[in-house]
């Protein structure tokens, strides 16, 4: 029923715009594709360069960093005061899923970028304008004895990224439908299925070499 006095506009506003919706998708895409790529790498990686497995790893290594970087941009754009976003990096409220998300993203994003550089090491070497990155790659390769541990760590952070978005929404009392513990599970499932699909698709489109 419409009210007799007063405006209801305030109570019907959409507060998180399309940018957040797209971000949630991109975060799921990024974490899903890197998780699938890692699982493939650990279980199915043969030395041949032509298998679909190899293409899937390459696809994950490209899709994950690009989509998360685009997502981060959208996150900041949606803030009412984008230029104040640095407070997010200074103050952490561990009871806030958003703060936890910032922490996960700070761990996840750099590792996933390094993962991309390592997978595409040879392409990086080819281009001179990427020369500064070569030193980084060399430095990271010094750590190769820890490679497996770092990959496990990356997998865990990716899992955190794909589930925290679900917890983020399930904390919203204003929208009772989302206020449910099923949401994070739904988010992880959809992120992994998305990862599989995207890795096969971009793998076939861009990284498949036919012998």
């Amino acid at each position: 029923m419409s009210p007799i006095w007063g405006s209801m506009a305030q109570y019907e506003m959409v507060h998180w715009s399309w940018a957040i919706a797209v971000y949630l998708f991109l975060a799921g895409l990024s974490s899903g594709s890197i998780m699938v790529a890692l699982l493939v790498k650990w279980n199915r990686h043969e030395r041949s360069n032509s298998s679909i497995w190899d293409a899937m790893i390459k696809s994950g290594a490209v899709v994950a960093p690009l989509s998360i970087l685009l997502g981060l941009l959208l996150l900041i754009v949606d803030l009412g005061r984008p230029l104040s976003f640095y407070w997010l990096l200074i103050r952490y409220n561990i009871t806030s899923v958003m703060s936890l998300g910032v922490l996960f993203l700070l761990l996840y994003t750099p590792i996933v970028i390094v993962f991309m550089l390592l997978v595409f090491e040879r392409s990086v070497m080819k281009y001179t304008f990427l020369a500064p990155l070569v030193a980084l790659i060399q430095a990271v390769k010094e750590l190769h004895s820890y490679a497996k541990i770092i990959e496990y760590f990356l997998f865990v952070t990716a899992l955190c990224i794909s589930s925290y978005t679900g917890f983020l929404l399930s904390a919203l009392y204003a929208i009772p439908l989302w206020n449910s513990p099923i949401l994070p599970i739904l988010f992880i499932t959809s992120s992994i299925s998305l990862g599989i699909a995207v890795n096969i698709l971009t793998g076939l489109l861009f990284f498949q070499k036919y012998d």
Binding site: I4, W5, Q10, G80, W87, L88, T95, S99, Y173
Partner: protein, 188 residues
């Protein structure tokens, strides 16, 4: 000892005149079309048992406040008396609190681009031992405000005489605002 503020809203005494809402606008410069406080009026019931229903819409000052626990930068915080405030300096307007508040109490002030809500007039009045402006202006004394630790206060006495309803109590947010429900029934 900290204060245990409580605000009571008597639905039986309210006549829906909106004096509280207007006084609040003036006191805090709330922009047009936004509300820190409004009394929602609806005609309820089935003929011939009709009645007006009044509902106070404003922050209820939760003790376990969802807005505080979701705020990533501690911009929403609780003071020593358990009142919830917003530190405009560190609010990044992420809007998480708006969506987390079960009482739809928060909005973005379009002039300042910062989140705003009822603060019990803490800065301008309550900290100077004045009543919140809505309470002091109500012509029918439907609003009562005071400290539950003072046993001779009006809110203490009323709270122990009447059956109170805490809004959305099932969410366990422990509001400091309580309602005296309508005694006259209307069929709904």
């Amino acid at each position: 000892m900290g204060k245990a503020y409580r605000l009571l809203y008597d639905e039986n005494a309210c006549i829906g005149c909106q004096a509280c809402s207007v006084a609040c606008r003036v006191e805090h410069g709330v922009p047009e079309d936004f509300f820190r406080l409004q009394v929602r009026m609806e005609l309820k019931g089935v003929f011939p048992r009709l009645g007006m229903s009044y509902e106070r819409m404003a922050c209820v000052m939760c003790e376990d406040a969802p807005c505080v626990s979701v705020c990533p930068t501690f911009a929403s915080f609780q003071d020593k008396d358990g009142l919830v405030h917003i530190d405009e300096r560190v609010c990044i307007t992420c809007k998480y609190c708006i969506l987390a508040c079960p009482y739809h109490a928060r909005f973005i002030n379009p002039l300042k681009n910062v989140v705003e809500k009822c603060d019990f007039c803490y800065e301008s009045r309550v900290s100077k031992a004045l009543l919140p402006v809505c309470v002091s202006i109500c012509p029918t004394e439907a609003l009562m405000f005071g400290d539950m630790n003072e046993h001779d206060s009006l809110v203490y006495e009323t709270s122990h005489k009447e059956a109170l309803i805490f809004p959305k109590a099932h969410l366990k947010t422990k509001p400091k605002v309580a309602f005296l429900p309508k005694r006259k029934g209307m069929k709904s």
